[in-house]
């Protein structure tokens, strides 16, 4: 006899995601499924369009990380053209990607996770939200908004607008950076550095209060994957793929991103539209994690002074010097990446080449296939395009960060439910813990399923006959 505990959202677009927990006869949680019901149709929708349109189209998948899709798409386009883009264009693309990391991570930490972290996982639900946070710590709310604004403003200055900028193109970027824009970006950075230092201090002060959560929120051995620079540094735009196990051994290194299919296979399950990528040599159980935690685990160094100092601190979380395995530490990793992003932006603005007017290489279709890979805020993003001689897309495959983390999210939910769920009785606190377990990955359902991006929760406890025993709804 199996009971099913279901957490099911209600959204304006039918579908999306739900969480089902499977209980055995003794009421113990034996399985967890993070089910995404929204159909991911962008790949089909794009077939028959020109690859030139793809940056504009794919950036409309998501309102939070449009820049990631723009860049991956433009890089796939570069490969189809068979060109090397001008150095200034590469630097400008990196600049906009770091700005994207700053704004997206700021949203995740301050808006989505800070209420739980500062008001308590099991705090009164009516107050444990961003409004509650604003009432108790208005300065933290303002700082979160300001940090996100800085990232958005840089994106707007470079791309012309902060949502769906179309400035990045196959072959380079649309316009160079003017000296005035450069000065404006520079003027915002001191605020950003001040806020991120406050956030790092805040989180470090809190960590001792969350020992149980660190132990139980997705804390398990796994592989970690991401891009690193050719000499092993933290990388978000270019570089080579590296896979590390939780003992710190390099399972794969210096894999060219174009060869990603050698190490990654994608599975599908009938109960979810979200793909289940896995590390190919390990078969369908080849779970790996991507994103900030993985990137900080796999790199040998960050490459900027302050981020390197924080990285050394971060690595002390794992006593043996092995990778940090608790997914709870995605929060910390995210803040370190914001700091790194701000430092890299500051460093890049000092490069005289950054205002070079030559920012685009022009060519026609020279290759029938293009693969563009970057590190999006949530992890490694792959765009793979196949075109005919006119550049018309014959096949499109998008492999997004939330998909990579799918197996890990399921395992995290299972671990939290096994630790905190008592029979089929779901309290608000347990529901929130499960939600937080998903939040640490900062999944983007817009990106992973190409939906509109809402995810309120509807929770059901069903007995083995399918009857509803308990129901909770969170709009």
């Amino acid at each position: 006899m199996t009971q099913i505990v279901t957490i099911d959202p209600v959204t304006r677009i039918e579908g999306h995601a739900k969480i089902a927990l499977y209980l055995d006869e003794g009421g113990r949680v034996v399985d967890a499924r993070f089910q995404v019901k929204e159909f991911r149709g962008f790949e089909e929708f794009c077939q028959g369009r020109s690859f030139w349109e793809m940056p504009g189209i794919t950036s409309r998948i998501c309102g939070i990380c449009p820049v990631s899709h723009l860049l991956a798409s433009a890089k796939a386009g570069d490969a189809i053209l068979g060109v090397q883009i001008p150095p200034a264009a590469t630097k400008l693309r990196k600049l906009i990607n770091w700005a994207q990391i700053v704004q997206s991570h700021a949203l995740s930490f301050f808006h989505l996770s800070a209420p739980d972290l500062l008001l308590g996982m099991e705090g009164e639900p009516a107050k444990r939200n961003f409004i509650g946070l604003l009432q108790k710590h208005p300065e933290i709310g303002r700082n979160g908004i300001r940090l996100r604004q800085i990232g958005q403003a840089i994106i707007r200055l470079l791309g012309g607008k902060s949502v769906h900028p179309s400035w990045t193109l196959p072959g380079g970027v649309g316009d160079p950076l003017s000296p005035e824009e450069l000065s404006e970006i520079k003027s915002m950075l001191p605020d950003g550095f001040h806020i991120i230092q406050l956030a790092l201090d805040l989180l470090n002060d809190m960590l001792s209060k969350y020992e149980a959560e660190i132990e139980n929120y997705g804390n398990f051995p796994s592989l970690f994957m991401g891009l690193v620079t050719p000499d092993g540094g933290l990388e978000h735009y270019d570089g080579l793929l590296r896979v590390m196990d939780s003992e710190g051994r390099l399972v794969e290194d210096k894999v060219s991103p174009e060869d990603y299919r050698v190490i990654i296979e994608e599975a599908v399950e009938p109960w979810s539209y979200l793909k289940f990528p896995y590390y190919k040599p390990h078969g369908p159980d080849g779970l790996y994690r991507v994103g900030p935690l993985a990137r900080l685990n796999i790199c040998d160094f960050a490459g900027t002074p302050r981020a390197d100092r924080e990285l050394r601190q971060f690595r002390r979380l794992s006593p043996g010097g092995t990778p940090v395995t608790s997914s709870f530490h995605y929060h910390y990793a995210r803040l370190i990446e914001i700091l790194f992003g701000l430092e890299k932006i500051a460093e890049t603005l000092e490069d005289p080449e950054i205002t070079d007017p030559h920012v685009r290489s022009k060519a026609f279709v020279n290759q029938s296939q293009g693969i563009g890979v970057i590190e999006a805020p949530r992890g490694t993003l792959f765009h793979e395009y196949h075109v005919d001689q006119h550049g018309i897309l014959q096949k499109v495959n998008l492999l997004v960060a939330t998909g990579h983390n799918n197996l890990a999210m399921n395992k995290t939910i299972l671990q939290i439910a096994q630790r905190y769920l008592n029979g089929s009785r779901i309290t608000e606190g347990v529901l929130n813990r499960i939600e937080h377990g998903i939040r640490v990955f900062d999944p983007c359902l817009s990106c992973s399923t190409h939906a509109v991006g809402q995810m309120p929760l509807h929770l059901q406890v069903l007995n083995f006959r399918g009857g509803v025993e308990v129901e909770l709804t969170r709009d």
């Binding site: 929708f45 309102g63 301050f110 961003f130 709310g141 190409h450 509109v452």
Partner: protein, 165 residues
Amino acid sequence: MILLIGCGNSLRRDDGAGLLLAALLEKSWRSGPQVVKRICVHQLTPDLAEYIARDEVKVVVFVDSIAAKMEVTHPEVEVRRLTVEDSSPSLGHFLPPKALMLYARFLYNKSPSSWTVTVPGTDYGHGEGLGKVAKRAIAKVSYRDITAPDVWLVKMAAAATQQPM
């Protein structure tokens, strides 16, 4: 100043209706004496609170698509005055207008009057252009008569209160 915030995704059919209607309202309202600023967003995010809280913003109008719950025989654009109250967070990256207005109040001590303008939608598949229901609802608005936004918003909201929510 009236701040018009059009929300949606123009590649998800009716989800783009809010963007289109916001553009039409801006054009009409600009033919009157008022200052109008339009922002187009994919979804509402916290940083918009700072825009809303700027001194010059007197009225905020959120324009979005809303899924019609049943077959719509007489689709109408609906206006409602926003009552700002507590709101719980969502798991994703989306904020409801009410939460955004609360952010403006708590963070910046600003509470401009706020309204939602919604277009009923039925087709949220991938693609450009609107489905029949959203298209009909938008076509029924008489844009020539709405150069006075405050009057139009109040009149439309009064009509909406006659309809079931």
